[in-house]
């Protein structure tokens, strides 16, 4: 039997909130008792859950009152944790990539693949008038969110500073931006220096002025985020690479589509995407009109990526994608550690948080890919595993393999906490396992970042890349255009080598300044009229 892995674990005082495929389960974190689950819902409720597909993102507020979730249907669902009641749902403009509550629990922030951050009030404002799309509106905004800021690039991660005066956003184009919050239009600074996408950022509780970032680069970077200066780097690739068991598929050369609007999601087929989008909108409209969800429409397939071959066989690449970064300090604060995971890696990694030497990276191998991990307030680190993964690609459940395991720091290293004294671990590995069909598992697409985050810029994808013609002499015939360019270039080079119009000719130039260079008119179609009029 196949089961859903637990894709996210959230702890809130005495509760553990578990995301498993399309379902939410809430357990007592001490006894492991299942308090409530959406898995036993029936009728329209069940249809709505399954229609939304796997829950991609979930966040819980500080007081443990509310939970927000979203899936591939771009619906932001607000749940009351007590009784798991769906309080409201709203359509997001684009597929979300991150969710968070503000500290007071009254505002929900969402980041999306278009690069925007919107904020929404906890309570749904009654929409009296149908919001018409203004001709000058630059952003779709179906649910009346407040646009905080936007990058022209897929947003991968964001967080609020501890005083909530700043919002830190990271994107697929290597940027980390520090903006005021909520006045996101004022950019305080950037933390620039990553050469590949940034996919995880973290501010340690014990060092609030520092930001740890990671992504596709072989190191983590630690910034003074208020000034944008990098303070130090921690090389990690050497330690992580041996554990990256899931490989990204080699890209099949896709015909470059001009005007594509998938905005970075390289695995989305554009045509499908557009149709799917429209359909989603129509569906949303009918939904709101009827005031209920019908559940007759299948899950929007448009954004489902090309499935990643979970096999290590040929034609695949090892890609580093840092997935999550967290930090821990011991009670007395004398030992500080970073913990991080990488997409498709079977280990959890840790190192000392130290300003002095380059720290050694320790790996704790689970032999199954780590999906996610959560640091609980007691210092225990809960790790979700893709227990059904195997190198051969068969998705058979290994009976000895746990889906959740727990580790903690012992000195500088992680050690496993046996499951026996932790009823919650036993529950998560037994009664919380929900059956999943192979298509449902496929739709989870746990390793999408491996193919979606690296850039799709091999030259065969880019019709603008014609640099080759600037390097003649490789035996190819030059076109008339190329010959024409070379002729001018050679002429320029000749003047430069014989007698450049540099410093020495300054006076001569001065003399001639009143005269017009005829050649410019010949060429530029009279573009330089203004120069003569000085």
């Amino acid at each position: 039997m196949s089961v859903f892995p637990h894709t996210q674990l959230l702890f809130e005082s005495t509760l553990a909130i578990v995301i498993s495929g399309p379902h939410i389960q809430i357990l007592d974190s001490r006894t492991g008792d299942l308090i409530i689950t959406t898995a036993d819902r029936q009728g329209a409720d069940k249809d709505a859950l399954l229609k939304s597909g796997p829950i991609r993102l979930a966040a819980v507020d500080k007081e443990g009152k509310h939970l927000v979730t979203s899936g591939d249907d771009k619906l932001l669902k607000l749940w009351q944790i007590d009784g798991l009641k769906l309080l409201n749902e709203r359509e997001l403009p684009k597929k979300p990539t991150g969710l968070a509550f503000t500290r007071d629990g009254q505002t929900i922030l969402s980041a999306d693949k278009f690069g925007d951050i919107f904020s929404y009030d906890l309570h749904l404002a009654p929409q009296t008038v149908e919001q018409k799309k203004a001709s000058l509106a630059s952003h779709d905004n179906p649910s009346g969110g407040k646009l905080i800021l936007g990058h022209a690039s897929f947003l991968t991660a964001f967080l609020l500073s501890s005083d909530e005066k700043f919002i830190i956003t990271a994107d697929r184009d290597e940027h980390i931006r520090i903006s005021w919050y909520p006045q996101g239009y004022t950019i305080e600074t950037y933390c620039l220096g990553h050469k590949k996408f940034v996919s995880a950022i973290h501010v340690p509780d014990f060092s609030l002025t520092e930001l740890v970032s990671g992504g596709g680069d072989p190191m983590l970077k630690i910034w003074d985020w208020m000034t944008g200066k990098v303070k130090r780097e921690i090389p990690v690739l050497h330690a992580v690479e041996p554990f990256i068991q899931v490989k990204a598929p080699k890209r099949t050369p896709r015909r470059f589509e001009e005007g594509g609007e998938d905005n970075g999601d390289v695995t989305t087929t554009k045509k499908k995407g557009r149709k799917g989008r429209n359909r989603a909108k129509q569906q949303a409209k009918t939904d709101s009109a009827e005031g209920s969800t019908s559940g007759s429409t299948p899950v929007e397939p448009s954004e489902v990526a090309v499935p990643l071959e979970a096999s290590g066989s040929g034609g695949s690449d090892t890609i580093l994608v840092i997935q999550r970064i967290a930090s821990l300090a011991s009670d007395m604060g004398e030992s500080r550690h970073l913990v991080f995971s990488a997409v498709g890696a079977t280990a959890l990694f840790s190192c000392a948080y130290s300003e002095d030497a380059v720290p050694k990276i320790h790996a704790f191998d689970f032999s199954k890919p780590v999906i996610d991990f959560t640091v609980a307030s007691d210092g225990l680190i809960w790790v979700s595993l893709d227990a059904q993964w195997s190198e051969t690609g068969s998705n058979s459940m290994d009976s000895t393999s746990a889906v959740v395991r727990v580790v903690r720091f012992s000195g500088d290293k992680l050690v496993e906490v046996p499951g026996d004294p932790l009823p919650l671990v036993l529950s998560l590995n037994s009664k919380c396992l929900l059956p999943a069909t192979p298509p449902e598992l496929k739709a989870l697409d746990l390793y999408l970042p491996l193919s979606a985050l690296p850039k799709n810029n091999e030259s065969e994808h880019d019709p603008m890349d014609r640099e080759a013609l600037e390097n003649p002499g490789d035996g190819k015939e030059l076109s008339m255009k190329e010959l024409g360019r070379l002729k001018s270039k050679k002429a320029v080079a000749k003047v430069q080598s014989t007698g450049p119009a540099g410093e020495g000719e300054e006076e001569e130039l001065e003399e001639r300044r009143t005269k017009r260079a005829k050649s410019e008119h010949d060429d530029a179609g009279g573009e330089d009229v203004l120069m003569g009029g000085l």
Binding site: K133, N456, R485, A517, D523
Partner: protein, 248 residues
């Protein structure tokens, strides 16, 4: 008249546009094979401005064939001006053109203060310009992206304005001009609504001595001339970067 010296050489120096033609549009959201610095600190400005290396103070976003650059070069000989253009061929044309102008004996100025990078300004502007480093930012005849679905590709949007405000120093000016009235209204409304910009009239700019810049904005570009030939209308909208304080 200018042919009395080295006529063959000067004639062949400047590149010809017909050798650099390219389709007019580029998708700003796709991953082009672009080379860009990872931060402004990583740029060797001596490559661009060999006579007086340093970061630029004016930037022309989507500089096309470089009409504004070459017009401003003699007006502001002490000011470094950088053009950004996403189309490979067009940016190469401007590069070759500047190289030729720098060695053209009869040129009215030395053109050491203008340069060009092939860049996607929507994505990588902060890679080129440090905070508050610019005093003027030009958007001349930008791609109108008529279809509503394409509006997000427009170079002026609330979220991109934040990046322009970041690169501009307080008091710096954003110049926009277009022959498409709808786009003009779009740009104007977004700049008007943006807290860090305030509208500034053409008269006011002229009163501040920026008349020659305004003239160049109107007439120096290929697009500007085309509109003139076709007797079309041009819509100018300029804004000043202002500062705001924290909400309390």
């Amino acid at each position: 008249m200018s042919k009395r010296k080295r006529p063959e050489k000067t004639e062949g120096l400047l590149p010809q546009k017909k050798h650099y033609r390219q389709r007019a549009h580029a998708n700003p959201f796709s991953d082009h094979t672009l080379e860009y610095p990872d931060s402004p600190d990583a740029i060797d400005w001596a490559v661009h401005f060999p006579a007086s290396p340093g970061p630029p103070e004016f930037a022309d976003v989507g500089c096309g064939f470089g009409g504004l650059l070459t017009a401003l070069a003699p007006l502001f000989p002490e000011t470094r001006i950088l053009g950004l253009e996403i189309r490979v061929q067009v940016s190469q044309y401007v590069q070759d053109r500047i190289a030729a102008l720098r060695v053209t004996p009869d040129a009215p100025t030395h053109y050491q203060n203008i340069s060009i990078v092939r860049a996607n300004a929507m994505k990588f502007l902060p890679n080129y310009f440090a905070k508050h480093s610019l005093s003027a930012l030009f958007f001349l005849f930008p791609d109108p992206h008529f279809k509503q679905r394409k509006h997000k590709a427009r170079i002026i949007s609330p979220t991109l304005l934040a990046e322009y405000a970041y690169a501009l120093r307080p008091g710096g000016i954003v110049y926009t001009i277009t022959d498409v009235q709808n786009l003009h209204e779009w740009m104007k409304s977004h700049l008007d609504a943006f807290p860090l910009f305030e509208s500034i009239s053409e008269e006011q700019l002229r009163a501040e001595g920026k008349g020659p810049v305004v003239d160049a904005v109107y007439t120096s570009t290929e697009e500007g001339k085309k509109v003139e030939r076709n007797k079309g209308e041009k819509w100018l909208a300029c804004f000043r970067r202002i500062e705001v304080s924290r909400e309390t």
